[in-house]
C-alpha cells in the first residue's frame, strides 16, 4: 500500500509541476533567500556585542517567517492538488509533503526516511510518530558557504525557513508538528536532513476519513 501511495504521489507531483505551477529562475530564489539570511545574521547580534551574530535568534526568526509562509502556502497547495483527497494517515502525509509539496514549490523530492511510529492507520495508539526528509539537493543553499567565525557551523540552520513552512502548513490542516533540521551539508554533514514529529492532531475539526 505504501508503494502505491508513493507512486501515485510522485505522478501527481510531476503532473502539477508541469501544468499548474508558475516558475521563476532558481537563481532569483537562491540569491533572495541568501540575502535574507545574511541580512538577518547582520541584524540579530548577541546582546552587548556589535558584530557577533546570535545564530539561535536567526534560526528562530527564519522559523517564524516560514511559519507565516506555511499558513498561506497551504491554501495554494490544496488548490493545486485538488484531487488528492484527505490523507488517511501520517505516513501518507509524509509522502505527499515530499512528492507533491516539495516538488510543487522547490522542484526537489526529498526522500522519506527514518520512519518511527505505529503501523499505518493506528497513529492514535500513542507513541511518537516521526519521519525524516532527506534533501539530496537544496535549492536554497546552493552556492552557500557558512561564515567562518567558528560558531555558524555549529549553530546556524541555514534553511530553517523550511521547518517553519511545514509547521505552519500542517497546522492549518489540523496537525501540530515539530520540525527541525538534524543535519546539513553546509555544516559538513553528509546529508541535509529534517526531522518532522507529529505532536498531536488538533481537535476542533478532525479531517473526515472518507474514502
Amino acid at each position: 500500500m505504501a508503494t502505491a501511495t508513493t507512486s501515485k504521489a510522485s505522478r501527481m507531483g510531476e503532473e502539477i509541476w508541469k501544468t499548474r505551477v508558475d516558475k521563476i529562475s532558481a537563481e532569483v530564489l537562491t540569491l533572495t533567500y541568501g540575502t535574507l539570511v545574511a541580512q538577518l545574521c547582520r541584524d540579530l547580534t548577541l546582546p552587548n556585542t556589535a558584530s557577533q551574530t546570535d545564530y539561535l535568534a536567526v534560526n528562530a526568526e527564519l522559523d517564524r517567517m516560514g511559519y507565516a509562509i506555511g499558513l498561506r502556502l497551504i491554501e495554494d497547495f490544496l488548490a493545486k492538488s485538488q484531487n488528492t483527497g484527505h490523507c488517511s494517515n501520517f505516513r501518507e502525509v509524509a509522502e505527499v509533503i515530499s512528492k507533491v509539496g516539495f516538488k510543487m514549490f522547490l522542484n526537489v523530492v526529498p526522500e522519506v526516511r527514518g520512519w518511527q511510529g505505529p503501523p499505518a492507520g493506528e497513529e492514535g495508539a500513542g507513541g511518537p510518530v516521526a519521519f525524516s526528509l532527506v534533501l539530496e539537493e537544496n535549492p536554497l543553499a546552493e552556492f552557500v558557504e557558512l561564515p567562518d567565525d567558528g560558531r555558524a557551523q555549529d549553530e546556524l540552520w541555514y534553511s530553517n525557513v523550511l521547518c517553519g513552512v511545514l509547521r505552519g502548513a500542517l497546522e492549518m490542516v489540523q496537525m501540530q508538528v515539530e520540525a527541525r533540521f538534524t543535519s546539513d551539508v553546509l555544516r559538513g554533514h553528509e546529508s541535509t536532513e529534517m526531522r518532522v514529529t507529529l505532536v498531536r492532531y488538533l481537535q476542533d475539526e478532525l479531517p473526515a476519513d472518507d474514502d
Binding site: E27, T30, L31, Y33, G34, T35, V37, A38, C41, S51, E142, F143, V144, E145, L146, P147, D148
Partner: protein, 186 residues
C-alpha cells in the same frame, strides 16, 4: 636534464582598486621515480610573487584605453626565459593573473608540449575560464560581501582584505594543479 613543460607558478586575483584579493603559489614539480607522481621541487617565495603580480598592474593600466572589447589581455610580460605572466580583466575591474613557469613541470607523456613549441595564445583560456567561474561562485555566496574586500569601501578594516573562503581557495588550488598546455577544459 629532462625536458620540461610549462606549469602554473602562481595565480593572483587582484581587486578593482589593485588590492590583492587572493594569491596562490604552486611549487614546480618533478616526477618521483618511485611512484611516478609529481612531487614538489622548488618552493616559490610569497613576497617575490606578490611583487611580480604588482608589476602587472601598470601593464593593465597602460593597455586599458586601447582595449575596447574583450577581457583577455594575453601575455602581459615575460620576466625571463622561464616566468611569463598572463592576464584577464573582468568587467567589474577585478584582474586575474596567471604566472606561468615555462619549465615548471615534467613533460606529460603524449601532451602537446612534448614538441617543445611553448605556449599558444589560447592555452590559458580554460584556466582563466575556470578561475572566473570560481570567482562567480564566490560572489553568489550570500555571506561574501564584495564591499568588505574593497579598501575604499570596507567599513571596519580588520587587517587583511583577502578572500578567506575555503571553497574558493581550494578551487584555485585545483585549477593551478590541473592545468597543462592544451587542456580542453578544467
Amino acid at each position: 636534464m629532462d625536458s620540461r613543460a610549462p606549469s602554473i607558478a602562481a595565480i593572483g586575483v587582484l581587486g578593482r582598486h589593485n588590492n590583492p584579493l587572493h594569491i596562490s603559489l604552486f611549487p614546480s614539480t618533478t616526477l618521483d621515480p618511485a611512484t611516478a607522481q609529481p612531487v614538489p621541487q622548488e618552493h616559490r617565495d610569497k613576497l617575490d610573487y606578490a611583487f611580480k603580480l604588482n608589476s602587472c598592474l601598470d601593464i593593465f593600466e597602460a593597455r586599458m584605453p586601447s582595449k575596447s572589447i574583450g577581457h583577455d589581455f594575453g601575455l602581459l610580460h615575460a620576466l625571463d626565459e622561464r616566468i611569463a605572466m598572463y592576464g584577464w580583466l573582468l568587467n567589474t575591474g577585478v584582474k586575474l593573473v596567471i604566472v606561468v613557469d615555462m619549465e615548471g613541470a615534467p613533460v606529460k607523456a603524449g601532451s602537446a608540449a612534448a614538441t617543445g613549441l611553448g605556449l599558444r595564445g589560447g592555452d590559458l583560456t580554460p584556466a582563466f575560464q575556470a578561475l572566473q567561474t570560481a570567482y562567480i561562485r564566490l560572489l553568489r555566496n550570500p555571506f561574501y560581501v564584495p564591499d568588505e574586500h574593497d579598501p575604499k569601501l570596507a567599513v571596519d578594516r580588520k587587517g587583511s582584505l583577502q578572500i578567506m573562503s575555503p571553497r574558493f581557495t581550494k578551487e584555485v588550488e585545483r585549477i593551478g594543479k590541473a592545468w597543462y598546455p592544451g587542456i580542453p577544459a578544467i
